[in-house]
């Protein structure tokens, strides 16, 4: 796998950056060779003998960095320079055999490609695959150094072989040593900065190691320059005309010039350059070795611990949820606790931090567990409390006299509101709604006591007044925390519809008479239970008629608050109940709950919302499947058409025949016109009409309600039909028709309202 990957990339040589960049690489290599080669010429004077071609030393660099494109650029330069050199000469091959050129080109390519091949072929220990050539660690510096040495030796050997051993062995060894030193100098002093520069360009970062290598190289270069100067001065002392003589020899103006120490000018010149390059090589190698040792120490003591520490902490952070053991972190960190000051400080801090996190986590777990336990217990408490409230609807499926529904929505887990209903005996239904002061667990506990006492006393057979008086006494016995409880308690005789009720500081009940609208009953209040012992409570009676509907609630309804702190209030409650038009207690409560939610919107619920609604249906024979519809219009003749359309529509849907429809519509018109003309005496007011149809006995019942002056049209004397039309009184005719054509006409004045009920069998 690794091998294939290396081969696939041609040991880092075969790269394609896009044609523009590839061409640029070729051009860069070409230009670089050109510049370096001219720099070498400048340094060595007219002919490069002492200093060899610098460009040769950076050849590996091109293969290393630019891949085949660098090699191509280098070959291109060599070809161009060779041709320009050979153009002046008569023989283009300079008298050398062709294979020599082929071999030398091959050796150049090999020389360029070898470093890259070696770099990718031998990944370092711990490396999955050799990384992109870079001197970011001391190991990479060593690798680069070794590769350079191998490459130079290989190249020199190959050149020697290709030159066919035309030099004597002793000379060859010396030459090789000289060349090796010079190549190595160049590879280090030019190659390394180029490599680092390239790395900076490529990665946009520079590692500590790269900085250090550069620093040591610059130091080396400075030291070499000083050393070089000293050697130069020494040489001049020995032979003041060294360079002058040497140039003369080169130009053929002089023969062999001997200097004082017995060397000739050429030898002296070579010795000068050789010693110079040896000094540089020694300096650079020593400094590089120092750098590598220093960096290895830094890496061992600083870099690697930090990297490892970071890995350990990352693992810790990742695995913390699964309970990563902090001891493991401590163990992994142990080797670094006694390293360099900063690293050991950091390690200790990390270990301490992990320990603290662990303690904190354990604390948090304890607290969370505790919280969960309390939450679970509150849940159970809430369930117990919920179970205490009758929750199966309809609660008395076999009792046709009543239709009952109730709901409680607690604000917190457990609340202080409750409702209750149960039959005291065959015919007496007890209804309770109550609200305990405060919220949460204390309220819930007090609620349980209150509810139990109320039920026990009621079942024992007391009237509401007696029950409240007794329960108040019992609650006051041990109520040091001064909690209290508002209660509305009513006992309904389902056979007669008589309701006896008492109110201990609770909200006013809302009553809807059959066919009427909901209105708050402002009955007399007694104080709440639990505050003062020995209080006497009062009760009142209310006669419920079939179809009447009683709605009870707690202050959670009227004091539901919207975001702007406005209260839902009693008026909105009445309005919402009337607008809803629902006739079924369950639907009515759900509809009201909807209205409250709509009003409150996103504001939090502060108090329990509890509602109880009972509809009295009366004795079984009167009940039956009924259809109901309502209309409420201003009592004005302009709305007559509306009323008539409503009536016709209802009658049609009830399957009423044309004759009955005729008489009923006439009756409706007469009654409505009567209300419109007289009820409000010219002032504005509404007329409500409730239409109901009992499918069983095919009875149409219509109830007309207005809040005008009390007036009973049925009590008017019968119009004197025997008189001649001229003497006839204007009014009275309409109601006469109604009375004559309807089966039953009944007038009531209830809760400030005129109620006229007509019934007709169809």
């Amino acid at each position: 796998m690794k091998k294939r990957s290396r081969l696939k990339h041609g040991f880092g040589l075969v790269r394609h950056y896009g044609w523009k960049k590839d061409l640029l690489a070729v051009a860069a290599a070409f230009l670089c060779c050109f510049l370096l080669s001219h720099l070498s010429d400048l340094m060595s004077g007219a002919r490069g003998v002492g200093v060899f071609d610098l460009s040769a030393a950076v050849m590996p660099f091109f293969g290393f960095i630019l891949g085949i494109w660098g090699i191509l650029g280098f070959l291109l330069y060599n070809t161009v320079s060779f041709i320009s050199f050979a153009v002046g000469s008569p023989d283009l091959t300079l008298g050398l055999p062709v294979w020599y050129y082929i071999l030398s080109i091959f050796s150049l390519v090999l020389y360029c490609a070898l470093p890259s091949i070696l770099w990718y072929m031998f990944p370092l220990k711990g490396e999955e695959e050799a990384s992109y050539p870079r001197l970011d660690t001391s190991s990479h510096v060593i690798k680069y150094y070794l590769i350079s040495v191998i490459t130079i030796i290989a190249y020199l050997l190959f050149s020697t072989i290709s030159s066919g051993f035309r030099i004597k062995l002793g000379q060859l060894a010396l030459l090789m040593a000289t060349w090796f030193t010079q190549y190595l100098d160049t590879v280090l002093i030019v190659g390394i900065p180029m490599l680092i520069l390239w790395s900076v360009i490529r990665n946009r970062t520079i590692t500590i190691n790269e900085r250090m290598v550069l620093a040591f190289l610059i130091t080396g270069a400075l030291a070499s320059a000083i050393a070089g100067y000293l050697i130069y001065r020494n040489s001049l002392q020995l032979a003041p005309d060294l360079f002058h003589d040497y140039e003369k020899v080169l130009r053929g103006e002089a023969g062999v010039v001997w200097s004082d120490d017995g060397m000739n000018a050429v030898e002296r010149y070579d010795t000068f350059w050789n010693s110079f390059s040896v000094v540089i090589a020694v300096m650079l190698n020593v400094l590089l070795a120092v750098e590598v040792l220093f960096m290895r120490s830094i890496e061992k003591k600083v870099t690697r611990p930090i990297v490892h520490l970071s890995e350990v902490l990352t693992d810790y952070a990742d695995q913390e949820e699964d309970g990563f053991n902090p001891d493991e972190v401590r163990e992994q960190c142990m080797p670094y606790r006694y390293g360099y000051g900063e690293v050991s400080d950091l390690t200790r801090t990390c270990v301490d931090m992990v320990g603290e996190i662990d303690t904190y986590t354990k604390n948090l777990q304890t607290v969370t567990a505790e919280k969960e336990r309390i939450g679970a217990e509150l849940d159970i408490a809430s369930r117990i409390q919920n179970d205490m409230l009758p929750g199966i609807f309809p609660p008395f499926p076999d009792r046709t006299e009543i239709n009952l529904y109730a709901s409680m929505t607690p604000a917190k887990e457990v609340g202080g509101d409750f409702y209750d209903f149960y039959f005291v005996d065959e015919n007496h239904l007890a209804l309770t709604i109550a609200d305990v002061s405060g919220k949460g667990v204390p309220a819930a506990l007090f609620m349980v006591i209150s509810k139990t006492l109320l039920q026990n006393q009621t079942l024992a057979g007391g009237s509401p007044r007696e029950v409240l008086t007794l329960v108040n006494h019992q609650l006051c016995q041990s109520n040091t925390s001064m909690m209290f409880c508002t209660v509305w308690l009513g006992i309904l005789d389902v056979t007669t519809g008589k309701l006896v009720a008492a109110n201990a500081g609770h909200e006013y009940p809302v009553l809807r008479r059959c066919g009427g609208s909901f209105e708050m009953m402002h009955e007399k209040h007694d104080p709440p239970l639990g505050l003062k012992d020995g209080l006497r409570f009062h009760e009142y009676e209310l006669q419920l008629a079939p179809g009447d509907c009683l709605f009870e609630y707690t202050d959670g309804v009227t004091e539901a608050t919207d975001a702007s702190e406005a209260l839902f209030g009693e008026e909105r409650l009445e309005e919402a109940l009337n607008v809803s038009g629902e006739n079924d207690p369950e639907k009515l409560i759900n509809s009201l709950y909807g209205s409250i939610s709509e009003f409150v919107k996103d504001a939090p619920q502060f108090d329990d919302i509890t509602m109880l609604c009972v509809k009295y249906l009366g004795k079984a024979e009167e009940s039956g499947e009924t259809k109901q519809a309502r209309i409420s219009v201003p009592a004005d003749l302009a709305h007559l058409d509306e009323v008539m359309a409503f009536t016709e529509q209802q009658l049609e849907s009830a399957g009423c025949g044309p004759d009955d429809q005729f008489t009923i519509t006439v009756a409706v018109e007469e009654i409505f016109v009567n209300i419109a003309n007289y009820a409000y005496d010219g002032k504005e007011g509404n007329a409500d009409i409730l239409f109901s149809f009992n499918e069983e006995n095919r009875m149409v019942k219509m109830v007309f309600t207005d809040s005008g002056f009390p007036f009973d049209p049925t009590s008017r004397p019968r119009p004197r039909l025997t008189s001649t039309p001229g003497n006839r009184p204007v009014g009275g005719l309409g109601i006469h028709i109604v009375k004559k054509t309807m089966d039953k006409v009944k007038y009531d004045y209830l809760a400030g309202k005129n109620t006229l009920t007509i019934e007709k069998h169809i």
């Binding site: 008489t663 519509t665 001229g726 004559k740």
Partner: protein
Amino acid sequence: MTIQQTKDGETLTMAIEGRIDTLTAPELKTQIEGAIDGVMDLILDFSKVDYISSAGLRSLMTAQNWMDARDGSMVIRNASKNIQGIFKVTGLDSFLVLE
């Protein structure tokens, strides 16, 4: 409610169509009042009246009074069974002439 009037000498025939209720009854009264000058025989054709309430009855009684005052006659023709029922219930059948 629409009324079609046909005058033939002293006989006026008014064919009424639609509902005679509280809202339309005054219109009926006005139309009769405006048309009975010189009329001795008023014929009200109820074949297309499908509804009448007490307000309509009052208009009819007023018209009857007018005709009685000038010794003329008023006849209601083709009243439906239901409308006849109303006349009967109110006792108007004893004053009005129904044909």
